[in-house]
């Protein structure tokens, strides 16, 4: 626990520095962090943009209960597919929605471009910090004092889905460390199957692996961004998977493709290291394997370790220029902590709540039939506590993902290594930051 505390403290220091750098772009009219979040007079209509399926029905629930604060639901494609660009266009045109869904890895981009309102002074917001899983709260505050830029919505703690029946038949123990995972991969390969695939397009999955290894991809010293894609911890992860690729122990199937689903369905791949929302992906992609899957914690770098990474998750942010930050903050708090709202968002949109109390909802304590009656969400709740709280995203993640993914593709086809991909991504990220006049250390 001591180490966790130290980590948090470092994170806070790092991220507040980050915020200072971000503030250089801030306009002078921004209200001081203390105060200035008063309720509006009379009834208010807010707009809220989100792409989570079924979110409109959660909003309808709020509208029923709050006649004076009506929320108009807006939607679009998922963030990186167009909605983030729309937010930036709207902020430039001065007619942004009051609230928007923003994934954690995109928040720094909005912060650096001054696209977020600080709602720390709004009633109930600062007090809510203990209601959310620690790492998610540090994502929305950037560690700044008196600052909250969004309310955490959902998270994606990572664990390991595996075919319990196949492991048992083959007499292979379920791996608990990465070393054992590698040994299991060799035994599985000997049977003509793969332990998993290396996903070239899911660079944020790879970031989740680095995250678990207590690595960083970005840091900030108060003035400059420091890009660390090739930090020691990151390289350690890259080398591990590179060896798996070199020895033919992992497949190159692109995640979420038909072939990939089929490989799970036919037993050609035995495990998937993935986030909590992956439970639905396997259930729908591999229907013939019902009852055979189980979930275990991620393999650890050290035996007996208690670390997990995170893949995905988003927040509800109040966008710059909102006329009603107070009401918007109230809605965001309700949306992400009200039990009824969270249950509905999980049922219709598959969201796993970032709220601590959310993890104890009936739906997350029930036996999962597809997983042989295992209470899989207990494993994820534990993983959620194990997620290292100080991971920092860069301000140009879309670009970083694209460039690293290109390199991963080359590595999978034998034209280079994962480390080459990270090295190239490191340089192109530095170039991209410079191109946007964001100070960066070389």
């Amino acid at each position: 626990m001591k180490s966790t505390f130290k980590r948090t403290a470092t994170a806070a220091a790092l991220v507040s520095a980050l915020a200072l750098a971000g503030c250089t772009a801030t306009s002078a009219e921004e209200p001081a962090a203390s105060g200035e979040c008063a309720p509006s007079d009379g009834p208010v209509t807010l707009t809220f943009t989100s792409w989570v399926p079924g979110m409109d029905q959660v909003v309808a629930l709020w509208n029923e209960q709050n006649p004076d604060i009506q929320v108009e639901f807006q939607t679009g494609p998922s963030g990186n597919s167009g909605t983030y660009q729309n937010f930036f266009n709207e902020i430039a045109a001065g007619n942004a929605a009051d609230l928007g869904q923003i994934e954690y890895d995109a928040l720094p981009n909005f912060r650096v471009q001054d696209g977020l309102e600080n709602i720390a002074a709004c009633a109930g917001v600062a007090e809510a910090s203990d209601d959310f899983v620690e790492w998610t709260w540090s994502q929305v505050t950037f560690g700044e004092a008196d600052a909250v830029y969004a309310i955490p919505q959902d998270s994606g703690p990572i664990a390991m889905y595996y075919r319990a029946d196949l492991f048992e038949q083959a007499g292979i123990a379920v791996p608990t460390t990465w070393e054992e995972y590698r040994a299991a991969a060799e035994q599985i390969a000997a049977q003509g199957a793969f332990i998993t695939n290396f996903p070239k397009t899911d660079v944020n999955w790879f970031a989740g692996m680095v995250w678990q290894n207590d690595g960083q991809w970005f840091a900030n010293d108060g003035e400059n961004w420091d890009v660390q894609l090739t930090s020691d911890k990151s390289v350690e992860v890259a080398d591990y998977w590179q060896a798996m690729i070199d020895d033919g122990l992992v497949s190159a199937l692109p995640s979420f493709s038909d072939e990939w689903n089929a490989s799970f369905n036919t037993g050609a791949q035995w495990t998937w290291i993935s986030a909590v929302w992956g439970a639905g992906t396997i259930r729908s992609g591999a229907p013939d394997t019902a009852g055979n899957w189980r979930v275990a914690p991620m393999p650890q770098w050290e035996a007996g370790g208690e670390a997990a990474g995170n893949w995905g998750g988003s927040s509800t942010a109040v966008l710059k220029g909102s006329d009603h930050p107070y009401e918007a903050a109230q809605f965001a708090l309700w949306l992400n902590s009200d039990p009824e709202a969270l249950a509905l968002a999980n049922e219709l949109g598959g969201l796993y709540p970032a709220s601590k109390a959310g993890a104890t909802l009936p739906v997350f304590t029930a036996d999962q039939e597809f997983y042989g009656g295992q209470k899989i969400y207990e494993v994820f709740a534990q993983a959620s506590e194990w997620v290292i709280p100080n991971f920092i995203w860069g301000p140009t993640m879309t670009q970083t993902y694209t460039d690293v993914s290109d390199g991963f593709g080359t590595a999978l086809s034998g034209g280079g290594t994962l480390l080459d991909a990270l090295t190239a991504g490191q340089q192109s990220t530095i170039d991209a930051l410079k191109a946007q006049s964001i100070p960066v250390k070389e």
Partner: protein
Amino acid sequence: MTTTQSPTAHTRSTSSRKGPMRENVLSRSAAMLIMGVFTIYFLTPIWWLLVSSTKRRDQFTSTAPLWFTPDSFVAFFDNIGRLFTYNDGIFGQWILNSVLYSGVGALLGTLFAAMCGYALAKYRFRGREVIFNVVLSGVLVPATALALPLFLIFSQIGLTNTYWAVFLPSLVSPFGVYLSRIFAAASVPDELIEAARLDGSGEVRTFFVLGVRLMSPALVTIFLFQFVLIWNNFFLPLIMLRDQALFPVTLGLFAWNSSIGQNPDLRLFVIVGAFVSIVPLIIAFLSLQRFWSSGLAAGSVK
């Protein structure tokens, strides 16, 4: 003349009896082969789409991708039913929106293009060529490049996220104006307009009674062009619209497709929806195909 010409004609006809005949068979089968290959190339994705829409979700990965399953027929109508009832039948709304944007937009767009082209062809006024050249240069600017400036303008007047935001820009068709002008110049004789004027017909009436009828093949071409253009226009609605009740079907399907991770059921709806969304285009083409080809040829030759 006749004496020198007939032997030549004779030799040509004898040689043509062998040469072109062989050439015919050869070039014809070559042409058929190439067309066959392209037909397969273009139709395979549509075939896949049709076959895939007849499968249940768990059959995507476990059955042959290009052939039906025994219960395809039932599954197809079941899928269609679920597609149109999912999320309070929002998909039907999207199809309706697309038909509205494309149908009304193309109809009015064609009318404006016809009027503009007719005026440019039949009236002489100062600056006529300048206007025509400006319109012509509009053909060169891709619609995608205009979407963001349009968003900023519509933001100023508070029309973003409304029906008008997609509808108004759809009314403009520089290519239609160009085609109309060329076609009006060629197919509407000045004498006829003169005669109409002498008979006491007003200019507007002359246009609708004479011009529109004589230009109708070109107008159908413009209508089809514009219809397909608006139907497939994705970027403008993406930037302009937030209310899903206003989405055209292209944007709606794209939004669904990007949320498959959260709700795997959507995968099925995207595939079946994509299939349903091309049906109106196929109908429009098949029913207006006759006019389409004749209009296009007429415009380009004259």
